[in-house]
Amino acid sequence: MSELAIKARGLSKDFGDLRAVSSLDLDVPRGQIYGFLGPNGSGKSTTIRMLCGLLKPTEGSADVLGVHVPGSTHDLKPRIGYMTQKFSLFGDMTVHENLQFIAEIYSLPVRDRAARIAELLDKYDLVPQAKQLAGTMSGGQKQRLALACAVLHHPELLLLDEPTSAVDPQSRRDFWSNLFRLAEGGTTIMVSTHYMDEAERCHRLAILDEGVKVADGTPQALQADTGMHIVEVTAEDPYAAQAVIDELAEVVSVTQLGVRLRVLIPERIGEPVRLVESALAARQLSADVRKTPASLEDVFVAATMDRPDNAT
């Protein structure tokens, strides 16, 4: 059996004139949490839908758990769990009825059903809601139910499409600890997100921008290899400082975080701190300027900024 749960080559999808996903190569190792980071409309959902056979790729193909996609994915369905971006369970059925339905649809042996449902209700903290209509629950509860339904049949691969976009921070933290438990149990998890802190928790991650993969690797490797100096500027007048730094031709991006500015300058430029300091001094702006390690946000900005440069 292959070491890779997913191996995609040249995966592309057009919607009319729009190229939603462009020549995507992906290698997702088994038993890992693989993150898919990108803004809305970057092609994350489209990619996940292609991988589970919901959409037919315009070009390219993938090998998902040894099954060729596009192709007959009927044998693949029982082996994957899929959680849609929008809550897609039945709002007019209770939590227990939803789980019961999913158990029946996946042909779980009748004698195992009750035990499995009880186990999931307990594990995902849904016991008090068992008899509640799913549509009346909070965002976090709905999300736990969706995850419980997605894993009920013990899938080898979980595809989660922005599972945390509609829940509060506490629910997000709990959700991620559930994902780690699943990964420890051997489940491969592919999860799309636009939260940096979530991306940081993944074993590996790919950054997607306008349908193109712009970076791929472990979070640590990506942070170590942005190709950028990260210069942090703490200024009394951050607004004025930003205007000055923005004018520098060498600067790729300036982002304001409270009183601090994060400035991205390509690595080929020597002495980036001096560059910024002198520019500010020339305008009589006092500021503390120092180099810092890259955050995942910097990686994201650098990766998506890079593209127009590469294109020209």
Binding site: C52, H74, Y82, F87, S88, E104, I105
Partner: protein
Amino acid sequence: MKFFGRMLAIIKKEVRQLSRDRLTFGMIVGIPILQILLFGYAINTDVRNLKTAIANESNSDLSRQFIAELGQTQVVDIVGYVATPAELEEQLRRGAISIGVSIPPDFDRRTTDRDRAAINLLVDGSDPTIVGIASQLKAMPVRFDAGAAIESPPPNIEVRAYYNPERRTPVNIIPGLMGIILTLTMTMFTAVAIVRERERGNLELLINTPVTSAELMVGKVVPYIVIGMIQLALILVVGDLLFQVPMRGSIVDLYLAAGAFIAANLSLGLFISTAAKTQFQAMQVTIFFLLPSILLSGFVFPFDGMPRFAQFLGEILPTTHFIRLTRGIMLRDAALLELYPELIALAVFATVMMTAAALRFTKRLD
């Protein structure tokens, strides 16, 4: 075994959701009963009591005797007397009356004159039905106290009304109404049931499970077949209790015919669901099929009276064939096999629509 298990899961889910949807559940029972009451009591082609005014310029004994007899026919309801025919025309125009009876000053003399009409009927001809009813009055003999009576010639043709000798409209309407109600509910419920699933995102979840298209479709349709059969029973019972609609043929034949008809409508509903993106669109398309089903199926207007092109369209619609089946079985005691062309038409329609729906429905989103 897995096939039945998954199908059963879909059926159970559908019934469960249906039982929680009070409005839809109410419609299942409400639509047939309301429609049968409305149509049964409201539609009446045997028109009586047309509003009538009289301008009696003769004012003779003979004319007053005629007016009294006219009132007894029950065809007219005399609502007023005016002085001149011009006033009758004015009342007609205002819509106050449907018929104006103008009795000329020389009425008595005219009754003996073979060449001139004794009475003028002014009829609101904008509704052809009223003209038809008013024409019945032509057969009324104008009697005389004195002078030689003109004997009306003995009739050459005698009409014997089979199957509905009392000419009660509900007897004809209610078997047809079965077709209309089943078209409305069966087509709309199935179309909406699947489109709703797509709108709510449930379909994206379902097609990612091992459930196959066939299991999904059959599972969604089976509960509605049962509902259709319940509706049919409701119409039969209400039709019998309130309108004494006869059931002369075999009830088994009727249910077999209904089975074929429901299959045709459900496959139409499934087909609509593969084309419609929203529940609203699904409703619109259903109405698009419903209107011709009411107007071109022979439900209201006799099929033979329609132009060739309209008949052709009517032949395509399942309702046309089902109405022929119900009227045949219920009123004329026809056996199902005698009516086999209608059955074949329903089977062909169902097969074509089901195939089209299955071809269009893929377990994909694009």
